[in-house]
Symmetry: C2
Subunit: 268 residues, 2 copies
DNA sequence: TTGTCGTAGTATGGATACATTCAACAAGCT
DNA sequence: AGCTTGTTGAATGTATCCATACTACGACAA
């Protein structure tokens, strides 16, 4: 019992950091809780498949259950948690097939966005992209990295003229981000995004697309290897998480909290 | 239940029909209200830009405000309504630019789905598609039509193997459906879907894609003409008949960076 | 020993009541 | 007259409380 306690303690401590970090400056408490929980899920503080108890979350954040419910409902529509009526909400688990489909769709959407963007390329945008890419190739961790990455791809994909397209891409990226938390540091990623920008600025569509394919495929394979490792490690087979009831009742809170802790971004 | 106001009687009557029709058979009241409101919005019972008052909706359905709020929040994440904090929710309004983007994305996604589907075509699926297409070409209205259409496209696009792709397509279709309510009857639509099925079953990709492009472009132009008519009639821009503002303050993003603001995109 | 039934516990879903916030209106000031 | 400011009203957002549904556990019978 003690190890579990200490375990939750560290998790609660990290969660408290997230709370403190984002607790101020929102119009409503529900929006704040939404940001907190989204950050906690996408950063891996809550592991895939973990149950999210409304009451404990409310207590940890310091609000009532209502805004927690509000946030969880929005996260459900975002595809990050699933509700089981009268049983609760748990963090979405993605099967390898689902992850593959996400990357197929990302390839389709992002190459389309790339083509659209390059037809409207101009020196100003190219220069902005160079600056963002340089920052992106320097930082590899933390919220600063995530923020710059969002801004880079919004500029690259011309979110001004393709807001819905960019939103869909970001949603897909958000689904899979938590599965490759410790992966980003492997490999020699020097100048990657800057290379892409040069292809784009030079009007070399095929090279740019090749970069994109290679990039996405590399990340996809990284997730696949991670999933294979973890699959052999502990998780037997978390099947489809459709809200269809009648699941095997012998499915208690997965012991994966520890794994999540070890995978969280150490460098924050 | 009891008609509250006399001036919107016909609207309330139609809404009451929707309520009665969908009121039974759900796990939770919130899910029922979600289905009711989604149906009411996509069927045009609630006009784009119209305010959705939680209390009146709750009274009309016969529940409290909580499940109504629940449903509205889910609909916001679906992109069908937008929340203005402390002011309320209104049915999303789509600008012509947004509708064009939706159709560009539908073309991209649906042609991709078509290609994927045709690589796995077999006589069984072709036969199922023929039957569904025949039914679809007979019925042109009502919930039966909508239901058969969903089943046809799920079979056509192989939702078994591409669940996320089909879900995204259906979401996009749901966004624009309410804009072409009276449009579907114009033109000679005889055998349209059956023609498509023959192309697909025969392995004629280019003809199938040509059918798809023509179909989507026809519907898009229909919506465009409708919007132009209505635009000259009453609405100068996204503000509907409601006389008050549409963008009260500059809608300050939360200070946590740009990422938490991904929710209010589809509103425009 | 096994399978079924019944009961208790717990967490969610929903309803009611309260607090907060925004917007409109009116009065006062420059 | 125009602008600013205080007040009022209404609708939302939140908290607390209650009912319901699901799970777990234990007793009893075959």
């Amino acid at each position: 019992m003690a190890p579990r306690q200490g375990h939750n303690l560290s998790k609660n401590a990290r969660f408290a950091e997230v709370v403190d970090e984002l607790a101020g400056g929102y119009r409503t408490i529900g929006q704040m809780v939404y940001a907190v929980l989204k950050e906690a899920i996408t950063s891996g503080t809550f592991a895939p498949g973990e149950w999210l108890r409304q009451e404990s979350l409310a207590e940890a954040i310091g609000v009532s259950r209502i805004p927690v419910r509000t946030a969880l409902l929005q996260l459900e529509s975002d595809g990050l948690v699933t509700f089981h009526p009268h049983r609760g909400a748990r963090v979405c688990t993605l099967s390898p097939a689902q992850i593959n489909e996400i990357y197929r769709l990302r390839t389709l959407l992002e190459s389309y966005a790339l083509r659209l963007s390059m037809t409207r390329m101009n020196p100003d945008r190219a220069e902005a992209l160079r600056k963002l890419a340089a920052r992106l190739d320097e930082e590899h961790e933390g919220k600063e990295f995530l923020d710059v990455r969002v801004r880079f791809y919004r500029e690259l994909y011309d979110s001004e003229n393709n807001p819905l397209l960019v939103q869909m891409i970001e949603e897909l990226r958000g689904h899979v981000g938590r599965y490759l938390l410790g992966f980003r540091f492997s490999g020699s990623h020097k100048r990657q995004h800057s290379d892409l920008v040069e292809h784009v600025a030079g009007g070399d569509l095929s090279s740019a697309e090749a970069w994109l394919y290679s990039h996405l495929e590399g990340v996809r394979q990284g997730i696949e290897s991670i999933l294979l490792d973890e699959g052999g490690d502990a998780a037997p087979d978390e099947n489809a998480e459709v809200e269809d009831d009648g699941e095997p009742p012998a499915d208690p809170s997965p012991p994966g909290g520890g794994q999540a802790a070890s995978r969280a971004q150490a460098a924050g």
